[in-house]
């Protein structure tokens, strides 16, 4: 997102290469974590984030402040994760595996199995619902920020989140 008057934003190096490298050191880990929740494996997530930074480097003239750059990176990471998932499904004809029963998750300390189960159920959600849930409950973005990142209205964000939570509850309960 580009703020019309950029207010009190720390300046990036003026050199494109130095600026992208600085952004990489600041945000690479967080973006890899975010991507890994969408593509399910670390190697693909790392690759997706590298591509997002390369894309930022290519389109640097359109980016003029750090806030906009991070927004661009987040959106590019989501878009690239999406296309990786599509490609993978095409190549392997992946169908979400059948859910296995799992014990009710303990909120304070989820077991490895419970975490796996939540992640597996999450993977069965429609793509948009999954993205909204990850941005909301992992990245702690507000509805407005999610709307901006995904290019949808705040109302849609609310709807996707509600549907995702309902589906997750039902599917996790059904599996217990």
């Amino acid at each position: 997102v580009r703020a019309v008057p950029a207010i009190d934003v720390p300046a990036l190096p003026t050199d494109r290469r130095a600026a992208v490298t600085a952004l990489f050191h600041a945000h690479n880990r967080a973006l890899v974590r975010l991507a890994s929740l969408l593509v399910d494996d670390r190697e693909t997530a790392e690759d997706v984030v590298q591509e997002a930074f390369i894309s930022l480097y290519r389109h640097w003239t359109g980016i003029r402040d750090p806030g906009a750059a991070l927004g661009y990176l987040r959106a590019a990471t989501l878009n690239l994760s999406r296309s990786r998932i599509r490609r993978r499904r095409r190549e392997l004809s992946l169908v979400p595996s059948e859910l296995q029963p799992v014990a009710a998750a303990d909120v304070s300390a989820l077991t490895r199995d419970a975490t796996d189960e939540v992640m597996r159920v999450l993977a069965t959600l429609p793509r948009r619902q999954r993205e909204v849930v990850v941005l909301r409950y992992y990245d702690d973005l507000s509805e407005a920020e999610i709307a901006t990142t995904l290019g949808i209205s705040p109302g849609s964000v609310k709807q996707h989140a509600h549907r995702a939570l309902t589906a997750l509850s039902q599917r996790l309960e059904a599996s217990t």
Binding site: R2, A3, V4, I7, S169
Partner: protein, 265 residues
């Protein structure tokens, strides 16, 4: 937060932490450096190819022009041939794309939410904001807080870079605030920001307005206009695009779009 939401948040953080432990930051930084080197190399190669192609075109065009001139010089003058002295050609050559400032603004958009209308060129996309402007987020521009009019090339990877676009935001002037106070509050934000530059008095649809060309970290040629009409205040911003291989949107075109506005607040 419900139990389900807490469970979800914990699961996501647990999985993310597992990934984080395995990330080799140094290896990834080296990998990125190599890929950026390759990117720079490709860019240099592309530029060289374009330069060579342009040079070849120039040589070819020069050859054609020389042949035409040579043929004209050898053509015998017949009785019907006029011998009037040459006059300067006032018509533009055909086949040349119109200058940006001359592109007609053929599409008209009326916003009932933001109470204005404006004209913009054919082929530009329009993304009206889905709900009224929320003032605390007033100056953060996004498709959620502004009407966006953009040249199609302004969209990259599904992400709008804002270049080659005009955005419009407006809100009712808060109770107890005069128009001048509202304008002053908006201009105060600009003054403290990085887009500070000399502003000048102008008018939009007959209403007094401030318009400024941005500077500093804002792009050269950016324009930001602040205007009120009745009990409503507007901020209109235009961002030129100067990517020759994609498109060029000049500030003059952005100014014409802003000048086409009618304010109905």
């Amino acid at each position: 937060m419900t139990d389900m939401e807490r469970t979800l948040a914990v699961a996501l953080r647990t999985r993310a932490a597992e990934v984080d432990d395995a990330v080799d930051a140094r290896r990834l930084a080296e990998q990125l450096a190599r890929r950026l080197d390759a990117e720079d190399h490709d860019r240099r190669v592309r530029r060289s190819v374009v330069a060579v192609a342009a040079a070849l075109l120039l040589v070819a065009a020069g050859g054609v022009a020389w042949r035409v001139t040579a043929q004209a010089g050898h053509q015998p003058a017949g009785p019907s041939q006029r011998t009037t002295s040459p006059s300067p050609d006032t018509n533009p050559p055909t086949g040349v794309a119109p200058r940006q400032r001359d592109i007609p603004l053929v599409q008209r958009y009326h916003s009932r939410v933001q109470h204005y209308s404006l004209s913009y060129p054919a082929g530009w996309s329009r993304s009206p904001l889905p709900q009224p402007w929320d003032f605390p987020h007033a100056l953060e521009s996004s498709t959620a807080t502004a009407d966006l009019f953009a040249t199609p090339t302004g969209s990259l990877l599904g992400w709008r870079s804002w270049d080659g676009s005009v955005i419009v935001q407006s809100e009712p002037i808060p109770a107890g605030m005069t128009s001048d106070q509202w304008v002053a509050s908006i201009n105060g934000v600009f003054k403290g920001g990085q887009c500070s530059a000399a502003r000048e008095r102008t008018s939009i649809d007959g209403h007094p307005a401030w318009i400024r060309g941005a500077a500093g970290t804002c792009g050269p040629g950016d324009i930001v206009a602040v205007v009120t009409s009745g009990h409503r205040g507007y901020v209109i911003a235009g961002f030129p695009l100067s990517t020759p291989h994609l498109a060029i949107v000049e500030t003059a075109l952005l100014q014409r779009i802003v000048a086409s506005m009618q304010l109905t607040g």
